[in-house]
């Protein structure tokens, strides 16, 4: 008896949505024939994992028809394309697409530049434009993010004074918090006995023992002892050091032996150490380095030299701002509370149920894929680990553009992520679904964001 090909193999699940295929095949008749075997799809074009820093070309605005830089080589499908089907993994770069997209992007760039150059920036306008994606040029993204996070006020005339104030505040933090206990003790000594001469270099003889200041000695176990706190901090510092070294190992900006990588790592470490010291409540949690990395990268690659020098200070404040919304996700005690991570995950669940009940039922009830298994990392790390670096920058544009804060938008994007691969999820069981969700397949980001945006309109309708 000959073995028949099982029916499920021949089912339409393995074929991606016809609408996309038709469009592509109309442009390139020889590409991607429609077959029914599961390996028919050509491998997706992989973006280079190391995004090229945007060239400091100020003339970008004047040449709207030039193709985008290497940092956004992904295929951005047109906004009018629907399809909640499978991933359009068979992307082919058509020249028309590229030029059309770059035109679109450049138009957005021009509008953003216009919006930014006004005396008082219209925040709503900037938010609206950012949601479409900020082009990677002339430091637009850096300024836009600073505006969206409230670091720069909308009034342009206040920018320089604000920046000076904040940057000097950061320097003060560094000076106060990063000194070691010996220094502190020495200062205490000097203030206690200003006139005493410490250098008895001429005299020989028995050295006099003196009292210790305020009971401070290096082996002190007292809770309020400077030394004890210092040693407790060293544990945190060691953990921060380890995590920073592991951040984005594939990117030269962050990892490797170059002086650039080392200075980036030092900056990241300083920011995280200061944050841990200023927030004894949450200190440092693994994952904060991932949230900090895109911020620092964007600010450091600003073509404006002054901004580059102070990228560390700017990144610190913006990091604090982002984290203030997500603090509760990181605090273990608050896990089960109203604002904690569990309730956020259940909100995501509810959202999915609202928009796609069939998928929700299949995921949570039939295959019992608990959203905690995949959504935890999506939510706490703001999707930095699910996509490559360039894509995550674009997603962050979208997240930060929301006026009500990134939390709601994040859930919508997560929901969109689930909906986009619904066919594969519906066909899979626990193991395959979990594997799929924990290694989310690469997809077109603008399509994803478009779907996420549509979800907002659906709920408000």
């Amino acid at each position: 008896m000959s073995k028949k090909v099982p029916d499920w193999l021949n089912s339409s699940i393995w074929v991606s949505a016809p609408s996309q295929r038709d469009r592509i095949s109309s442009l390139f008749p020889s590409s991607t024939p429609t077959t029914t075997s599961s390996d028919s799809r050509p491998p997706p074009l992989t973006e280079p994992p190391v995004p090229v820093p945007p060239p400091s070309v100020a003339s970008r605005e004047e040449s709207p028809l030039s193709s985008p830089t290497g940092a956004t080589p992904q295929i951005n499908e047109r906004k009018d394309r629907h399809g909640e089907g499978d991933q359009p993994a068979d992307r082919t770069l058509s020249e028309e697409d590229v030029s059309r997209q770059s035109q679109l992007l450049a138009e957005v760039g021009l509008s953003v530049c216009n919006a930014l150059s006004k005396q008082i920036v219209d925040m709503r306008e900037v938010r609206r434009l950012t949601a479409q994606g900020v082009p990677d040029c002339a430091g637009i993204r850096s300024t836009v993010w600073k505006l969206l996070l409230g670091y720069l006020p909308p009034d342009r005339s206040l920018w320089s004074s604000e920046l000076i104030k904040k940057r000097s505040q950061y320097n003060n933090f560094k000076k106060e918090l990063l000194i070691n206990p010996s220094e502190v003790v020495r200062r205490l000594d000097d203030s206690a006995s200003p006139g005493s001469d410490h250098s008895h270099s001429e005299s020989s003889g028995m050295l006099l023992r003196s009292d210790i200041t305020c009971g401070e000695h290096p082996l002190s176990l007292g809770k309020s002892s400077i030394w004890n706190r210092f040693f407790q901090d060293t544990e945190v510092i060691e953990q921060i050091d380890r995590d920073v070294k592991r951040t984005h190992p594939d990117m030269h900006f962050f990892s490797g032996d170059t002086p650039e990588a080392r200075s980036s790592q030092d900056a990241l470490k300083t920011i995280l150490i200061l944050f841990a010291k200023l927030n004894p409540g949450i200190r440092y949690i693994q994952g904060m380095n991932e949230i900090l990395a895109p911020l620092f990268y964007v600010f450091k690659n600003d073509p404006d030299a002054e901004n580059v020098d102070f990228a560390e200070a700017d990144a610190f404040f913006c990091f604090v701002e982002i984290l203030s919304g997500f603090r509760d996700n990181f605090c273990q005690q608050l896990d089960n509370s109203v604002g904690g991570i569990r309730s956020t995950i259940s909100k995501l669940s509810e959202l999915l149920k609202e928009h796609d009940e069939e998928l929700w039922r299949h995921l949570e009830i039939t295959t019992k894929v608990n959203p905690q298994f995949y959504a935890f990392r999506w939510i706490t790390l703001l999707l930095t680990q699910e996509f490559n670096f360039a894509d995550s920058l674009q997603i962050w544009d979208f997240l930060l553009s929301d006026a009500e804060g990134p939390q709601e938008t994040l859930l919508r994007v997560c929901c969109a992520m689930l909906i986009l691969i619904r066919r594969r999820l519906l066909a899979g069981d626990f193991t395959s679904n979990l594997r799929l969700l924990q290694n989310y397949p690469s997809t077109s980001i603008s399509h994803l964001l478009y779907v996420a945006d549509k979800l907002r309109q659906k709920t408000s309708g």
Partner: protein, 189 residues
């Protein structure tokens, strides 16, 4: 900011069973970068215990040590300071400051750490400073029975050293400190 622990003359197990509990509770791993031990531990278990506090351990041989391969004297450089270790039973008269100063000039070190007398001393002369951390367990010495357990922790910060003296007097730990600066920097040859 380098923390260096200096101790010695424990004489475990012959004259004392162990370090005082209060000392042990303070000496936890992770805080100290170097340990200098003047000698007379006497057994390997004490060596292992010191190794758990800090991997960088320098020991000189005392006359009762069961490990024969420790050196008679040892020198090391920490930051801007050169330190020397010697047990001190070789230097006669025992505890004589002039003879120790001679040894210090011989070793060419800024700080000489010696023991054997089981009494804490810190003495300064033109060549440098001699520090005797005393006996960490309070074991009796060849000279006297009246010994308080003591050890020394040095905080080396640039050209300045703060010496914290920990002594167990009547069951309580008393901490004092001594401050001194070096006037010239060490030239590396």
């Amino acid at each position: 900011m380098v923390l260096v622990l200096a101790l010695g003359d424990m004489h475990i197990p012959h004259r004392a069973p162990d370090l005082p509990a209060k000392f042990k509770s303070m000496l936890v791993p992770g805080k100290i970068q170097h340990i200098i031990c003047t000698g007379n531990l006497c057994i390997k278990e004490v060596h292992d215990y010191l190794k758990t506090l800090c991997p960088d351990l320098h020991i000189s041989r005392g006359e009762y040590d069961e490990e024969t391969r420790y050196p008679e004297t040892k020198t090391l450089t920490i930051g801007q300071f050169k330190l020397g270790v010697c047990h001190g039973h070789q230097v006669i008269p025992w505890g004589d400051l002039d003879s120790l100063a001679m040894l210090q000039r011989q070793l060419d070190v800024d700080i000489l750490v010696t023991g054997h007398t089981h009494q804490f001393t810190a003495y300064k002369h033109e060549g440098g400073v001699v520090i005797n951390p005393g006996s960490a367990t309070g074991a009796y010495s060849s000279i006297t029975y009246d010994v308080n357990p003591s050890f020394v922790l040095m905080d080396i910060d640039g050209l300045r050293v703060v010496v914290y003296v920990y002594e167990l007097i009547d069951g309580e730990v008393k901490v004092d400190k001594i401050d001194f600066k070096k006037t010239t920097t060490t030239t590396t040859h």
